[in-house]
């Protein structure tokens, strides 16, 4: 007899309504994207706020990357909502006790902030296209330049002040934007796997490492594609950043997991069955082993031995790829893992993602690729590479990026 509804298979006892798993792979992709936003923004602010010169080669790139990612962040949510046409209800009448209600405002605020920052960072290029460009792009840039072609010292001085202030505001904003995602899970009483005060910092730290890793990966790939020399100092700086935050992230994740096991509340038997069963590959092998321990060891070796040259770049690249996978697995293990452990504390479910369909794996893959596509298009129009700044070429003097 065919079931009338494709529901999740289960063992033990689960509440009847739990057999339909509410949050799909799209809700795994959403915190992953916001995490990448927060992470790339952090890298960018290392230069713009903290003045660490070694990050100059990637600062503007990371800023643009953050914007392209941020613009795609609402996509998985809109695909998931039962009534996406009503999405604005959460902004029109935000229920302030709900972390989700904060999303609309936090995300809008952060998107505007990133838009402004990128506008200031790339304004010289916008003006240049407005004056010397052709076709529709010229007109778009004329509007975008707000009818001003002022690139004088005074104007650029204002621009830099704005970039600085926006970056400073952007740091707590990023913390809030991604911290609240952790709070969405950590504040719930209903699931032992999620309920933890450490959720917001864990999410935040894994966000920073994912963003840093993405910047490393894209920096290496784009430099190879452009046949440009990769700045070792930059890679080293990124390695240190990744290494430090990775240790911190692993520490907090370890504490959270250990706490759960130590307290051994009601339902711990089922959790242990899950952890030693279905979770072994996604968690211990992929997230911890492959995705965290190996990069940590690699990065530690890089730091201690002061590796240089191609070895440094290759190892950093490899570690970054593994870390990107680890953070995706972390989101998966939290979101899907939490739903596979039943609220009864007496059963386990199995999430079976569909391939096609609005909330399927294909949709998730497309959503993950969208920021890269946007980035590709954006870099055809604007150049994020400091040494190629067209405004600098235009004026014949170096532009302080």
């Amino acid at each position: 007899m065919d079931p009338l509804f494709e529901a999740a298979p289960f063992t033990g006892y689960v509440y009847p309504n739990e057999t339909v798993i509410p949050w799909s792979v799209l809700i795994v992709v959403y915190p992953y994207l916001t995490g990448l936003v927060a992470g790339s923004f952090t890298v960018s602010s290392l230069f713009h706020v903290f003045g660490l010169k070694q990050f100059r080669p990637v600062a503007r790139f990371a800023m643009l990357l953050a914007l392209c990612l941020m613009v795609c962040v609402p996509m998985p949510l809109l695909l998931h909502l039962g009534r996406p046409e009503r999405a604005f209800n959460a902004m029109i009448t935000p229920h302030l006790t709900s972390a989700f209600a904060i999303f609309g405002y936090a995300a809008s605020f952060y998107t505007i902030l990133l838009l402004l920052e990128n506008w200031f960072v790339y304004r010289a290029q916008i003006v240049q296209i407005a004056t010397e460009g052709r076709g529709p792009l010229k007109w778009i840039c004329r509007i975008a330049s707000l009818g001003s072609t002022d690139l004088s010292e005074r104007a650029m001085h204002y621009d830099h002040k704005w970039i600085y202030v926006l970056s400073i505001i952007g740091i707590p904003a990023a913390l809030g934007l991604h911290g609240y995602v952790g709070f969405v899970f950590g504040s719930l009483k209903s699931r032992e796997w999620w309920s933890s005060d450490l959720m917001p910092p864990v999410f935040l730290l894994s966000a920073v490492i994912s963003g840093t890793a993405l910047v490393i990966v894209l920096y290496v790939l784009t430099s190879l594609a452009r046949k440009v020399k990769i700045e070792e100092a930059c890679i080293k700086g990124l390695v240190y950043t990744l290494w430090g935050f990775l240790m911190f992230a692993l520490l907090l994740e370890g504490v959270e997991f250990a706490s759960l096991l130590y307290r051994s509340r009601e339902g711990i038997d089922v959790i242990l069955t899950y952890v030693t069963g279905r979770l072994v590959v996604p968690f211990f092998v992929l997230q911890i082993g492959l995705g965290s321990v190996i990069p940590l060891i690699t990065l530690t070796v890089l730091v201690i031995r002061g590796t240089r040259g191609r070895a440094l770049i290759a190892s950093a690249f490899g570690s970054a790829v593994l870390v990107l996978g680890a953070v995706l697995m972390m989101r998966w293990n939290v979101v899907i893992g939490g739903q596979e452990i039943a609220k009864t504390g007496k059963g386990l479910l199995t999430y079976q993602p569909e391939l096609l369909g609005r909330e399927g794996l294909l949709a998730a893959a497309v959503v993950l690729c969208m920021p890269m596509i946007l980035m590709f298009i954006a870099t055809r129009i604007f150049s994020p590479w400091a040494e190629e700044s067209r405004a600098a070429l235009l004026r014949g003097r170096p532009v302080a990026a």
């Binding site: 339909v20 509410p22 039962g82 009503r86």
Partner: protein, 292 residues
């Protein structure tokens, strides 16, 4: 458009430019203020209860939500005597028909759980409607019954526990709703506004009792309403009406002699998962250590 430099412009032009900008700003500000005031007053007018549910005589507050039912006069509660439940599942079927719930074995506004301590085991075997054996015994997913699978086993103890939404006093689901689509009424019901819900399912995650589910047909979440549409007409919830053994009870706590008031007074009652702090309003007699 040539690059501009402010040092080239004569003083009067600067002055004119400043004045123009000032006037433009002031005008924009005035226009904005006017726009704000207009929309705010429109919203205020709309919010004012100028059209109550019923035209009441002057001087009397209108009855809400219906002319015959005033929600300020009632405080409802539900009681379950699990020592009486026979697991016939009439309540499950009646609820599905009364409330047009999806007829499959994975969406329930109310359900019954069976606990069976078999063969000397310390932990009971627990099953409910989605179990394959029970679906097979029912013959389809549109009707419900328990398979008599323990009739030849050595059963030390067995019992049934009906479950439904607890309409908590501090509902976690209401707390997490981002839009205000789910709410607690003045007479104690937790309801869902199906015309406002965006279907994010955060409330489904937040409920510790698994009472909420996603209504795929409408793209919104759904749950037991204690048959609000019946109670406001002076009827009982459908599940209470059809229970053949009186395991379910529902009444107004404002009446000290009503069935639930007496039930609470005359029995040692329990609620499910009190440690969550949700303060549920379904009172049970006959729970067991393993009922979660």
């Amino acid at each position: 458009m040539k690059p501009d430099s402010s040092t080239d412009i004569p003083a009067r032009r600067i002055f004119l430019r400043n004045v123009t900008q000032g006037v433009a700003c002031a005008g924009a500000a005035a226009g904005a203020a006017g726009l704000l005031a207009a929309t705010a007053s429109r919203a205020a007018d709309a919010d004012a209860p100028a059209t109550p549910a019923v035209r009441a005589p002057a001087g009397e507050a209108a009855s809400f939500p219906t002319a015959d039912y005033d929600w300020t006069r009632h405080r409802w509660a539900f009681a379950v005597d699990a020592t009486k439940c026979i697991g016939c599942l009439r309540c499950v079927e009646a609820c599905k028909r009364e409330n047009h719930v999806a007829l499959d074995a994975h969406h329930f506004r109310t359900w019954v759980e069976r606990y069976a301590y078999v063969d000397g085991n310390e932990k009971p075997q627990i099953d409910s409607m989605p179990d394959k054996e029970n679906i097979a015994a029912a013959g389809s997913e549109t009707v419900y019954r328990f398979a008599n699978k323990y009739r030849d086993s050595k059963v030390d103890k067995a019992f049934f526990v009906p479950k439904l939404c607890n309409h908590c006093t501090h509902p976690a689901c209401v707390q997490v709703c981002p839009t205000g689509a789910t709410y607690k009424t003045k007479d104690g019901f937790v309801l869902i506004d199906h015309d406002y819900c965006i279907g994010c399912q955060y409330c489904v995650q937040a409920c510790p009792y698994g009472a909420r589910f996603f209504n795929h047909a409408r793209g919104v979440t759904d749950k037991c309403t204690w048959c609000y549409h019946r109670v406001t007409k002076g009827l009982q919830p459908a599940c209470v009406e059809v229970c053949p053994v009186g395991a379910r009870m529902f009444s107004d706590l404002n009446d000290g002699d009503s069935v639930v008031s007496r039930f609470i007074r005359e029995n040692r009652v329990q609620v499910l998962k009190p440690e969550t702090g949700n303060a549920p309003n379904v009172y049970y007699v006959g729970l067991d250590k393993e009922v979660s």
